[in-house]
């Protein structure tokens, strides 16, 4: 099962190594990890996607909680949160296929951010399902390069990720 964790950490050198090192040495699988400063610039917020059953999730959360630089660890259930990922896709495009690709991008509300003689770069934002769908649609034109930010997520409504365990 996929879990999305929001982890608040002190914005200090080496914190990312502490977190990623913990995952590798305890044998937890990170599907994606995105990090940047939070509303308070002294704090970084990591969004970590892990796969595992409830026992694995409990271990991941309590082991993360033991790191001194980790301020809080929250599980964001998909029913109560929104998640997004930004993906750049460089797809092969010539005069014959360019307009069809642009139509597909339009349907997905994706943007064309670069046009070359033989390629287009498409910027798409969405959840896992949407990104997968456009990827599948573009595959037959030839995806030359693809880069993704990793998922970021937030609770819906008034529920917030702050210090302490939630």
């Amino acid at each position: 099962m996929r879990h999305i964790l929001a982890v608040l950490v002190d914005n200090k050198p080496g914190v990312l190594a502490r977190v990623s090192g913990l995952f590798s040495r305890r044998g937890f699988n990170i599907e994606s990890l995105a990090v940047g400063t939070a509303e308070n610039p002294e704090i970084s917020r990591m969004t970590i996607v892990v796969r595992g059953d409830d026992r694995v999730l409990a271990q991941v959360m309590s082991q993360l909680g033991k790191l001194i630089d980790v301020i809080s660890v929250s599980d964001l259930p998909s029913s109560e949160s929104v998640d997004r990922e930004l993906v750049l896709i460089k797809v092969a495009a010539d005069a014959g296929t360019r307009s069809e690709i642009m139509q597909i991008a339009n349907i997905f509300r994706a943007k064309i951010i670069d046009v070359g003689a033989e390629t287009l770069i498409i910027e798409v934002t969405g959840d896992e399902g949407k990104v997968k769908a456009i990827e599948d649609m573009l595959a037959r034109f030839g995806i030359k390069e693809l880069v993704r930010t990793g998922i970021i997520a937030m609770n819906r409504g008034t529920k917030m990720v702050k210090g302490g365990y939630t």
């Binding site: 002190d10 190594a17 409990a58 271990q59 309590s62 909680g65 033991k66 001194i68 301020i71 210090g163």
Partner: protein
């Protein structure tokens, strides 16, 4: 330099004073010259070891014997990497030590400078936390945080890496009274509802067993454990690190459980309907085959570390927090219980399956040596190496008090015992400290004979000398068709002459009749002593649960001879 500023090196000494540090185990080097210059006339006892690994083990032994934080010091590069085994050892057994390492100047970090090693990177997985001090202004806060982190919650090692230029930089020193760590909250409120539920689970149980670990000793909860066990009339077994948490002469004591535990402890676990784990972590040497461990028992797990809950076994009721505080709270909710049938059964097992060995008139049995040491010096602090010596010391001494048995449990570090004994003796100079050693382990750190002799640290090393790597040899006998691959250490060294070469006393005992006099001679000497007990080289540690078997599938003597 102005009147009010001091150097980073001087500030570090001031910080150590403020933390009440009176002893450091260390070894100097290039980047530590400014700090060693300050130590030259500091009011701190610095013990110069002969290898940095032993500085870490000595700090560890000091911490376990005294309950205080141990401090070790090493230079950059190889000095720092030599600390690694000692730090890993302290991490596995939750021992509060501070490792201070010198580092190359900040401007050179990352350039592969002479004697540079990324020690904060290297020790990331084996420290509770670590610091690279980049600015001297941060130093007092970092030291304060380091001591706080090392000694509170689940204790553990903390490393502070100090670049040379930081140690020479001048600044206005002030030691913070308090530090605030946003992500660290060691004081956990006890869940009273969980405590009440535990009390009712205990009242309902008919075959409870208390399984006590090192956490009981760390939190000084032995008096509470005794009251608790007597209140609910439950037998108590301890882990290797829990030895001493409960008096082994007590009728409720089952001794140690697990791979080399007593039969009756393992039987009690397997038949119990309620397991009360206190400050223990269900290590594989305790549980054996985990699916078959305590199959009929509900589990109450009392531990300060939430990450230990459910890590290895399913827990019915966790109670997070300090063991002493939880037991105190629990004591007020308990109902007096009577469990005569259960205790009668346990008593029968104890009678039927005692720890035993075949005594001999001609060859020294290691178990006999341990019993004779106990007879001559029941109040000693016993430290061990790792392997057969460790298990015999655990099984046959009969410990009564916490902090009297010091051993490398989690990491199983050969060579730990001698330097740890040195640290324990420095911390408890009025106690007799005896390292029960093997000839293999002792050779890993025997160079510290120079340290104990020159610093007048009167430890006794009792080598149970079988001229073998005994535990590995035992496994080869039992599981590898007696193919003794590279476990014969015959003719390594004459330990008596080795002792004398360093200026210590060396005694050899070759026959059982010589054992008592060798021990009394060592106890009478006011100097470091090595006693070389030439023991039966083929003696094995029993009972034994083979790795991966259920803990009631027990081998006894004769198992390998079939």
């Amino acid at each position: 330099m102005t009147d009010t500023t001091i150097s980073g090196a001087k500030a570090l000494i001031e910080c150590l004073y403020a933390e009440g540090v009176d002893t450091i185990f260390g070894y100097p080097g290039g980047v530590l010259l400014p700090l060693y210059d300050e130590l030259y006339d500091a009011d701190i006892r610095h013990i110069l070891v002969r290898h940095e690994q032993c500085a870490a083990h000595a700090a560890d032994g000091y911490a376990r014997a005294t309950g205080k934080v141990g401090v070790c010091l090493a230079t950059s590069g190889p000095g720092a990497t030599n600390l690694v085994t000692g730090i890993a050892n302290a991490y596995m057994d939750s021992v509060p030590i501070i490792g201070i390492t010198g580092q190359v100047p900040t401007s050179m970090i990352g350039n592969d400078a002479f004697q540079e090693a990324d020690i904060t990177g290297i020790t990331l997985p084996i420290t509770k936390h670590n610091y690279l001090v980049r600015d001297v202004e941060d130093l007092p806060r970092i030291v304060k945080e380091a001591f706080l982190i090392a000694s509170t919650g689940r204790p553990g090692p903390v490393l502070i890496d100090l670049p040379k230029d930081v140690s020479t930089a001048e600044f206005e020193f002030e030691y913070p009274k308090k530090v605030h760590l946003r992500g660290y909250h060691p004081d956990i409120d006890i869940d009273v509802n969980a405590v009440k539920r535990a009390a009712s689970m205990i009242a309902e149980a008919s075959r409870p067993v208390i399984y006590a670990g090192g956490g009981v000793i760390i939190s000084n909860a032995s008096p509470e454990l005794l009251k608790f066990a007597e209140a609910i009339m439950a037998p108590v077994t301890t882990t290797l690190l829990g030895i001493g948490a409960f008096p082994e002469s007590h009728p409720l004591s089952l001794g140690m459980l697990g791979m080399h535990g007593t039969r009756y402890a393992n039987y009690a676990i397997q038949e119990s309907d309620l397991l009360i784990a206190i400050g223990a972590r269900f290590d594989d040497r305790v549980t054996g085959k985990i699916e078959a461990f305590a199959p009929h028992a509900k589990v109450i797990h009392i531990d300060i570390d939430p990450a230990e809950i459910g890590k290895n076994v399913r827990v019915d009721l966790p109670i997070i927090g300090n063991a002493k505080a939880i037991l105190q709270s629990l004591l007020s909710y308990l109902q007096k219980s009577r469990r005569e049938a259960w205790l009668e059964k346990v008593k029968r097992w104890k009678k039927e399956y005692p720890l035993q060995y075949q005594q001999s008139d001609t060859v020294i049995k290691p178990q006999y040596v341990v019993q004779e040491i106990r007879k001559a010096c029941p109040d000693a602090i016993i430290v061990t190496e790792v392997g057969q010596n460790q298990m015999w010391a655990a099984q046959y001494f009969q410990y009564e008090n916490p902090r009297t048995f010091i051993t490398s449990g989690g990491l199983g570090t050969m060579g730990y015992g001698f330097p740890a004994a040195m640290g324990a003796k420095v911390g408890c100079p009025d106690k007799t400290v005896i390292d029960i050693a093997g000839d293999g382990s002792f050779q890993m750190t025997s160079q510290e004979l120079a340290t104990v002799v020159t610093n007048d640290i009167g430890v006794i090393v009792a080598i149970l000398d079988n001229s073998r790597l005994g535990m590995v040899r035992q496994w080869q006998e039992l599981f590898f068709e007696r193919r003794y691959s590279h476990t014969d250490l015959t003719h390594s060294v004459d330990f008596v002459k080795l002792a004398e070469a360093y200026g210590a006393i060396g005694i050899r005992a070759e026959r059982p009749s010589e054992v008592p006099s060798a021990i009394s001679e060592a106890l009478a000497a006011d100097k470091p002593v090595i006693i070389d007990f030439m023991i039966d080289p083929m003696e094995n540690v029993f009972p034994m649960v083979p790795a991966g078997a259920a803990i009631n599938e027990i081998l006894e003597p004769g198992a390998g001879a079939a």
